[in-house]
């Protein structure tokens, strides 16, 4: 009986390996370097069907077709950028996992920085205001000691 969990684990792992192997087509790469390049490139491209997966991992039919397309372009000597452009021409910037920095993506790229700066400014202003108000506030609280607890968090 003790063997059973181990057997189950082994079987699960074996099947997991099988599933992972199926996601990768046996493409006739020239050498290992090309295979690495292919894996790296397809990992940067989005599958249009299951949009949270990249081309390398997706089992969707279209993803397989596009992998073959990328492979074919690679064989014909196209560079990574040319292959990306080829797909962008057909499927828009959406196929790129990393959106390019351009007019309509500025907010996407730098929005978080803006929010961070706004937060930092708020903190700076608050801290400065509190420091300025320390002495009177301390006096106040001593005067009102026990009378009022609801000083709260003063922004």
């Amino acid at each position: 009986m003790r063997m059973l969990p181990r057997l189950l684990l082994a079987a699960t792992l074996a099947f997991a390996g099988l599933a992972a192997a199926q996601a990768i087509d046996p493409l006739p790469f020239k050498d290992h370097a090309q295979e690495v390049r292919f894996q790296k490139l397809t990992a940067q491209l989005r599958c249009l069907v299951c949009q949270n997966e990249n081309l390398a991992d997706s089992n969707a039919d279209l993803a397989r077709d596009l992998r073959h397309e990328v492979f074919g372009l690679m064989q014909s000597g196209k560079s990574d950028d040319e292959i990306k452009q080829y797909l962008v021409d057909r499927y828009s910037d959406f196929v790129l996992y990393d959106p390019p920095v351009q007019g309509n993506t500025l907010l996407l790229w730098f929005g978080p920085l803006l929010i961070l700066l706004a937060g930092a400014a708020t903190v700076a202003v608050t801290v400065r205001r509190r420091n300025r108000g320390t002495t009177p506030a301390a006096v106040d609280s001593k005067l009102l000691d026990g009378a009022s607890n609801d000083r709260g968090d003063d922004w």
Partner: protein, 180 residues
């Protein structure tokens, strides 16, 4: 005032959240806007489903606008769209070309025989190779191509009578107005 700041901050987040919900009910997040609209349709040469010896190409279709409707017998949403095309396809005033996508010819023929054939002709792309040039990522998708071979409008997902009335027919009318 400063005591109310957290409340206003909270209301701002609520408004943002509400806007997000409203936006997503009106937009399909999965929809990939085609970069091909306003650009020449890709070159294609595809065999007819009924007679694979004969082919249809972009060049052979030049001269009048037409609608390309990507469908497949395995595509469930195409089954939903089909009755709409059966009812309205002939009222569009332009040829409707069926684009059988990654489908076994016998399956497609059986499907059309069972549900009816709303198309003026059906071309078959069994491998889906040409569909990549068109930026097809699912079926159904439809392309309105003008007399010069330029893609003028694309519909991702099934046509409904509402979409035909509000989007497709005005687009066709605009094409016919600019024709001499």
């Amino acid at each position: 005032m400063s005591r109310l700041a957290p409340f206003f901050g909270f209301m701002l987040l609520v408004a943002l959240f509400g806007f997000g919900i409203w936006w997503n009910t009106r937009h399909d997040q999965r929809e990939v806007p085609s970069p091909l609209i306003g650009k020449p349709a890709p070159e294609f040469v595809l065999p007819l489903l009924d007679d694979p010896a004969r082919t249809v190409s972009k060049a052979s279709m030049l001269g009048k606008p037409y609608l390309v409707n990507v469908f497949a017998s395995w595509c469930i949403a195409c089954g939903e769209e089909h009755p709409v095309l059966m009812a309205e396809g002939r009222t569009l005033g332009i040829p409707v070309v069926g684009y059988d996508y990654k489908d076994a010819p016998e399956d497609a023929k059986a499907w059309l025989a069972r549900h009816g054939n709303p198309y003026d002709m059906v071309i078959a792309d069994r491998e889906g190779r040409t569909a990549i040039d068109f930026g097809v990522y699912g079926a159904p998708e439809s392309f309105l191509i003008d007399a010069k071979g330029v893609i003028r409008y694309k519909r991702i997902g099934p046509f409904t009578p509402e979409v035909i009335a509000s989007e497709l027919k005005p687009a066709i009318a605009a094409l016919q107005k600019e024709a001499p």
